[in-house]
Every structure is written in C-alpha cells, then in structure tokens.
Symmetry: C2
Subunit: 158 residues, 2 copies
Amino acid sequence: MEKYIKPFVDVTENVFAEFIGAKLEVGNPYFSKAEAISEWDISAVIGLTGEANGAVVVSMRSALAEKLTEKLTGKPHTSIDGEVVDAVGEIVNIIAGNAKKGLEEAFRLIISLPTIIQGQNHQIKWPSEQTRVICIPFTIYGSEVFTLSVAIEAARNR
Amino acid sequence: MEKYIKPFVDVTENVFAEFIGAKLEVGNPYFSKAEAISEWDISAVIGLTGEANGAVVVSMRSALAEKLTEKLTGKPHTSIDGEVVDAVGEIVNIIAGNAKKGLEEAFRLIISLPTIIQGQNHQIKWPSEQTRVICIPFTIYGSEVFTLSVAIEAARNR
C-alpha cells in the first residue's frame, strides 16, 4: 500500500468506529483509471491543496447513505434528503480533515469545501493525464460497500 | 452580482471565446440550496483553498460536452468517452485557474485537482450549513445550457 494511503484507511476505520459504531473490512486498494466501472448514488468530493494537490471522494449507494444518516441523526431516512446530503458531506469532511493530520509529517494539506453529487448510477472519473488515483473499497454491515478514492500529486503552482 | 462572482463570469466568457470560438449568453446568477433542481450528465468539480475555501463546478448535458470536445479535439464524439472527460475537466481547470488570477487582489486562492462525475440526471448539492453557493447559467449555441457553480467562504483553519 502506498505510504500516503495508510492514513486515509486508518482514519476511515476510526471515523466509522467512532461516529457510526461499525467495524469496516478494508478491501484491496486499486488504481483507478478514467474508465471508472463502479456506479454510485451519492458521492462527496473534497479538494486537497497545500504541499500536494489532490481530491478525496467518498461514494456509496443510497441505501447505505440512508442507513449511515440514521445512525448519525437517530431518525430513519428513506430517500436522499437534505440530512443525507449533509451526512455524506460531513463524512468526507471528517475523513479528509483527520487524514490531513496523519499526513502532516509527509506534507501539509489544506482541504476545500465538500461538494455532493446525487444521481442514480453515476461514476467518478479523473483526467487521464492525472497522477494515479487510488480507490479503497470498504465493506460495512457484512455486505454493503463504499469506496474512498484519493488522488494526490506533488504540488505544482496552481 | 456579488463582487467575487464577476471574475468567474468574465473568465468563462473568455475561455469559451478563446478555446471554443463561441459567444456565451450569461443568465441571471441564483443562489443554490441543498435542494438542487437541475439535472446534468457530466460535471467537473475543483476545490478552492487559500485565503478562502470553496469549490467550483461546471455542469452540462452530454450533447454539449461532446460538442465542446469536438471543438477542442477536432474529432466528433458521440458518447462521454475519455476525451470528453478530459475536456470537461480541463474546462473547469482553466476557468478556476484564470478566475484565481482575477481574484488575486481580493484573496489568494489555490485550486485542487479536478474530479469528473458522469451519470445521467445527476444533481450537484452542498451541505445545508455551507456558505451560499452561486450558480451562473450560461447559454451557448442559442439554446444549450451549462452552469458554473461557485461556493466560497472565508478561510477557516481547514
């Protein structure tokens, strides 16, 4: 596993343990290409700048997003309403914010505001010339999956 | 129009004039809420950090994305292939990069790597507590539309 990926895996496990009360199984990270194959219902994107440039994306199906929001708010959710949008945005925000701390010895990062995408069967893609993107699949509740995608390249003057 | 929005409008008009050879009609900017109503086929998101935090998103339908890519590459495109993904990512990259220069007197910004979302009828949303987002609708070729969404808030220690 690439050195800079480990902090993202660690904080994701910790965030889900602390806020959702769920243990994650970590799948094998894989390099993503412009030809994405996974389809999702909701994704939250956050940009990274500072001593490296990049982006972090959390993607999942609506059923899982609704279940996680129920854990966070204490109320059932049956569609991707405003609270589900907020919850998924907050999850990527906390993961990126905590990973930033874990990476401080390697490089100082700054995170942008999150943007949330909702739409059945959307895909997350990256420019083909971009520094490679690593996708980390996680399994929760035995069979539900989500991915954390991390793109990082050395900072240019952007 | 909010002061910081004008540089985004100006550079978008210039970028389309220079790279696409098309004149844009600028619609009335509106404030976006978590309940987005427009549906898109492809969006490109870029994060902003520095003396302000935010995000810039360009969203359009596939027909327009394919037409713009044809203008840029000289080859026809009939689906959202890798070149279309690259083209839309590059459009948001150039707009954010040029707007950054126009905003330097107000605040210094740094832009992240772009992430591209593909999926029929997806929506772009924002956390409800977030500083307001301004969407600027543009019309091109007489009837086709795309939007530029800009979220900016004063920088916290992110």
